[in-house]
Amino acid sequence: MSTLNPALEHAHDHGHGDHHELTFVQKYIFSTDHKIIGIQFLITTLLMLLVGGALALGVRWQLAFPWQSMPILGQFFYGAQGGQIAPETYTMLFTMHATVMIFLVIIPVLAGAFGNFLIPLMIGADDMAFPTLNMLSYWFMWPAIFFFFLSFVFGGGQAGWTSYPVLSAVVEAAPGSGHAQTCWLMGVTFVGVSSMMGSVNYMTTIINMRAPGMTLFRMPLTIWAMFITAILQAFALPVLTAAGFMLLTDRTLGTTFFVPSGLVINNSDPTVGGGQPLLWQHLFWFYSHPAVYIMLLPAMGMTSDMLACMSRKPIFGYKPMVLSMATIAGLGFIVWGHHMFTSGMNPALGMTFMISTMMIALPSAVKVFNWIGTIWGGRITFNTVTLNCVAFVSMFLIGGLSGIYMAAVPVDIYFHDTYMIVAHFHYVLFGATLFGVFGAIQFWYPKMFGRLMSEKLGKIHFFLTFLGFNGAFFPMHLLGMAGFPRRYADPYVHPYLEHLVPVNQFITISAIVMGSAQILLLFNFCYSYFCGEKIGRNPWGGNGLEWFAPSPPGHGNFDVLPVVYRGPYEYSSPLVTDRDYLMQTDYLPPPDSESKDETDEQKT
């Protein structure tokens, strides 16, 4: 390996077997090792992806073949109704689909899985600042999963993932949702607790546990992204938790935060109270808009790292990238109202929110252009990682640009709650984030398990997913144009939508293709664990500290405490001639120029 780093030479014979033996349970179940916790998160979320995807396929089935018996699932779940689902069930399907995808897949896979695995490795720490807290943050996922599934058993949340009161606050409004909605709220609370534990831990770790020399502006963008995400989580999530408690007490204890008086719901007695449903929408989106960036920023960070490595080029505009992420986070706090343009909010607020929403496209633009700039003049091979990263950029472009139509209030009057929105957020959530995650799995898998994932399977998986994804979600824009409303169990009762059945069938078939492709991913994941090609520390020729650790890293991560001499993106540096990367730990005897960069200044 690196001849430039003398420390590494004798590191090999240290190995990492010199730690006292842990039992299986200590090591793999109740582990406090960030790597194991990260992998636990990863596997859990991949399984949840299947669950959420299966629910989505249920949604798709109903839209393409309304009221027809679903092939396998139908008999399984709704055998009693001849395999046919009820409208309540449809509501439950998409509510739980979104819940599972957002709270149990995307958020935990980014912050939980990759955040955990990568943060200490990339900043050169031996573990998180609070390993036990870290473990708890994983185990608090399980009550959440439990409650979500319990909710499922009771008939599922019936108010969409946004859970707008009064529908979600008064039991009579959705008769089937009695305990289900309550469990749903409990689940959200536990997810919140879990993320909160994670986020304070990440922030502490990143602030206080960086290796010598790892100044803030030498941190990889992944770490910046994780840091900013943690901040977003720490400041936005408590608001949702608080609002969740308010809704919970509205449902169970008779408080009236969100229920105005005098409503007669489903022949109930008129409600008493004096609450305001809009308050929930504000509090909910105060969290959930920053949350969409929580669901995106880490993927942006990881994609930046992967793209730089795959292009063998420094990231284009490192500081603008950092700055744009910070700006996205900052602006992300003041745009939440764009989800409420038609809600009857104060029109002055609507204007303010429109302008801030438009402005948030700006840092995103900087990022997109910088990614393109990173590839520009680079040297790429189309391996699975590159493919997924390029797909990330390409799909984020579509998803982001459709956001522009919606950010324009008058246009959003038409598009709100149509499939235009559905297309938009699947493009950013699946198209951007999940492709980023697929790339990241492929990229860091060798570090997790010491073996490469199969390239061939990876490429097939990518191709099918990409094809199926665009086939499924691009036409949704056009459905939105035609005014196809979302959350409709049977849109075809409206004559102006009748001609859209074939499009929906096409979408469903594409979704099935995309769904089946995910089985390949899982297969690849397991297969490569046993049969993947074994590799050494640095299979990709990366610069980051994680490539300095053994693959897989042992307990305590590094056999030698890394010392950082430069930023993480010195690919193809002219300072070295025999290879095209220059690791952060590589010590170059100072010719003269670099010395000023190396003072181990105390950086906050």
């Binding site: 009064v166 029109p347 680079g378 008058p410 056009l478 035609a482 409303p485």
Partner: protein, 274 residues
């Protein structure tokens, strides 16, 4: 393989643009021309944004495809990647240009939004004499008109006229309706008119529009309101003022024909809780 993957990524913008061009032929565009004045403006805004976004989209994708094409060729040509940490002037350009465009888009929109929503911009006669009150309810639209010749009061009046799922409005003049809900949140959505407004429990929200042509327009609900959300189907009928007046008179006749005392029957028809 290099050509293949580049084509895959190139196919994205090409197919996207093509499908948008041909979408109209398959009924995948707006469901017809906008039938209100504001709707026309909304469509115009949409097309303006569409042009800006399409240009950005094609431009960015062209850039992306070009760089991956060039970068993937480097392997064969040999040689190292370009060691470059960024170009400052480019950063500045691609921050400022989009900033201006975006600022322009958002300021340009404000006018339509203010016309639609800001109280002082409501057309005066329409605002003074709302034609009807639309009350959403799981899962139907209840409509209350004032008796012919009278004004709509916020409080239900004994001689008010009631229908369900069938809103008649005079054509070619601004009309205002008062939107309410008796239970959960709903949303009054008429795709052809490009009108959408949520009905919030506890509030009475005015909406105005100016239908340009006679006709029947689908009325749907655009905010999840329970299991029957999809079936809240109604219609908005725009007809000449005379027809509208005649309609109200007919409605009044029908309603007083019930046999019950004239004064009381509307209240029976209205009570939302039998």
């Amino acid at each position: 393989m290099r050509v293949f993957w580049c084509l895959v990524f190139l196919a994205v913008p090409i197919l996207a643009v093509l499908s948008c061009i041909y979408a109209e032929d398959y009924g995948l565009w707006f469901p017809g021309e906008a039938e209100t004045l504001l709707g026309k403006q909304i469509d115009d805004l949409f097309y303006m944004i569409n042009i800006i976004v399409t240009v950005t989209f094609i431009g960015s994708n062209a850039g992306l495809c070009y760089v991956i094409w060039r970068a993937s060729g480097k392997q064969e040509e040999g040689g190292k990647a370009w060691f470059c940490h960024g170009v400052h002037s480019l950063e500045v350009i691609w921050s400022i240009v989009p900033a201006c465009i975006l600022m322009f888009i958002s300021l340009y929109q404000l006018d339509v939004w203010m016309q639609f929503r800001v109280r002082t911009n409501y057309p005066t006669e329409a605002a003074a004499k709302p034609v009807a009150e639309v009350t959403a309810r799981q899962f139907e639209w209840r409509i209350r008109y004032p008796a012919p010749g009278k004004d709509l009061q916020l409080q239900p009046q004994p001689d008010d006229l009631y229908t369900v799922n069938d809103l008649h409005v005079p054509v070619n003049q601004p009309v205002m309706i008062q939107l309410r809900t008796i239970d959960v949140q709903h949303s009054f959505f008429v795709p052809d008119l490009r009108v959408k407004q949520d009905a919030i429990p506890g509030q009475v929200i005015p909406i105005w529009f100016n239908v340009l042509h006679n006709g029947e327009y689908d009325l749907t609900c655009a905010e999840l309101c329970g299991w029957g959300h999809y079936k809240m189907r109604g219609r908005v009928v725009a007809e000449p003022v005379e027809d509208f007046q005649a309609y109200l008179v007919k409605l009044q006749a029908e309603q007083s024909y019930d046999g019950v005392a004239n004064e009381d029957s509307p209240e029976l028809a209205q009570s939302g809780e039998e």
